[in-house]
Symmetry: C2
Subunit: 198 residues, 2 copies
DNA sequence: ACTCCAATGTAGGCATCGACAACTTAGGTA
DNA sequence: TACCTAAGTTGTCGATGCCTACATTGGAGT
C-alpha cells in the first residue's frame, strides 16, 4: 500500500455502488470517492476518463448482475416468466438508484452499445421462455422477440412506476400480478374465463 | 423593463423548458438561465428556492400538458385507450428530457404530492375508458383502477424503453402495438382468435 | 542485475455551479 | 406621501469536474 493503490478501479466501483445505494446518484462525486479511498482527487481519472465513464461501468455491472439473477429463475416457461418479472422487481426495489443509472440516457456512445448488448441478453431470457411457451401451446404464434419485448416492456413499466414512487409497495405487487395476468392471458391461444382482478 | 423583470418566474420556466429540450437536464443551470434572461444570478432564488424547485415546477407543468393531450383523445373506449397510448408515446418522443424530469425521484416532498395527484388525474383518463369498456362488455370485470393501472404501466414501459434508446423508432412503434394488442386481448371477456404479431 | 518507460498517482489550478447573506430598488398601499 | 415588502443585485463560499504538469514505481527487456 504505497504510492500505487493496486486496484483502484475496482475499489472505486465498489465504493461508488455503496454511495449510490445510500445517497443516490447525486451524492456521487469523483472527489469524494477519492477521499474515501485515501487517494488524490486526480487518481480516478486514470481509470475513468469521466464521471459518466464510472457511471457507465456501474450500469454495465448492474445489467450483468440483473441478468445473472434472471437466468437463475427455474421452472417451466410460465413459472420462468413470472419469476423473471418478480426477480426484476425485487432487484429494482433493492437497487433503485442503480437501476436509474442503468437506464440513464446519457451514456458514452461506446458504453451505450455495450449496455444495449447486455440488456439484449437479459431480454433473451424472456425470449427463450416465450419460445418455450409457444412450443407448449401456451403462447400464440408470432415473432418471439416481438412478444417478449412487449412482455418485458409491460413489466418494466410496473418497475419504473414503482421506482418513481407512483405506486405504493402493495399497489406495486398487485400491479405486477395484474400485468402478468392480463399479458399472459392476452398471449394465450385459448384464454380461459377471466378471473376478476382485485 | 427596469430593475424588476415583471414576470421572471414564467420567463424562467419558459427558458428552462427550451434548454431542457436542447441540452437535456444536465445543461440546465440557474445561473445560465439568469444570464439568458439578462438578470442577476441570484434572482431565480426569489421564485424557486432550489434548482429542484424549478424542476418540480417544470414537471408539474409537463404533467398538466400531458394530461391535457390525453384528455383530447376521441372515440369509444377502445379508440381512446389506443389513442392515449399513442399520444403518450408521441409526447414522450417530443419531450424526452421533460419526461425524465417528470418521473424523477428527487422531488421536494410537497411537489411530490402535487405531482402524484396530477399523475393520478392522467390515470383517470385511462380508468374512465376502462370503465366504459366494461359497460360495453369489452373489458373483464374487476376494479377499473387496478386494470387501468396495469394497462398504463404496460404502455409506460414501452415509452420508457424508447426514451432509454433501448428500442429503435420502428421497434418502438411495433412494441406499442403489440403491447396494446396483447393487453386488450387479455382484458377481453371473450378474446377472439389470435392474430400473430410481426 | 540494470535501465528505462508506461502506468499510476499527486498537486495545483480553473471555470462553473448552487446556495447563502447583505444590500438596493421600486410598486402598491395605508 | 411615507413606507414596507416583494423582487432584483452583488459578493462570497465550498464543492465539483476536468485539465495540465509533475512524481513515483513496478516490471519488461536487455
Amino acid at each position: 500500500m504505497g504510492y500505487h493503490h493496486g486496484n483502484l478501479r475496482d475499489a472505486l466501483l465498489d465504493r461508488a455502488e455503496q454511495v449510490l445505494a445510500t445517497d443516490g446518484v447525486d451524492g456521487l462525486s469523483l472527489r469524494a470517492l477519492a477521499r474515501d479511498l485515501g487517494v488524490s482527487h486526480g487518481a480516478p481519472a486514470r481509470h475513468f476518463r469521466d464521471k459518466q465513464a464510472l457511471l457507465d461501468a456501474l450500469a454495465l455491472a448492474g445489467f450483468r448482475r440483473l441478468e445473472e439473477a434472471l437466468a437463475a429463475c427455474p421452472g417451466n416457461w410460465s413459472d420462468r416468466l413470472r419469476g423473471i418479472a418478480r426477480t426484476y422487481l425485487d432487484f429494482a426495489a433493492a437497487n433503485p438508484a442503480l437501476l436509474a443509472v442503468m437506464y440513464d440516457v446519457k451514456h458514452h456512445p461506446e458504453a451505450s452499445d455495450a449496455l444495449r448488448a447486455e440488456a439484449e441478453r437479459g431480454l433473451g431470457q424472456v425470449v427463450d421462455a416465450v419460445r418455450d411457451g409457444q412450443r407448449a401451446g401456451g403462447v400464440v404464434d408470432g415473432d418471439p422477440g416481438e412478444l417478449a419485448t412487449a412482455l418485458f416492456a409491460a413489466v418494466h413499466g410496473v418497475v419504473q412506476l414503482a421506482l418513481g414512487n407512483l405506486l405504493e409497495p402493495d399497489e406495486t405487487d398487485r400491479a405486477l400480478v395484474t400485468v402478468l395476468t392480463i399479458s399472459l392471458r392476452g398471449l394465450s391461444p385459448s384464454p380461459g374465463p377471466a378471473r376478476p382482478a382485485g
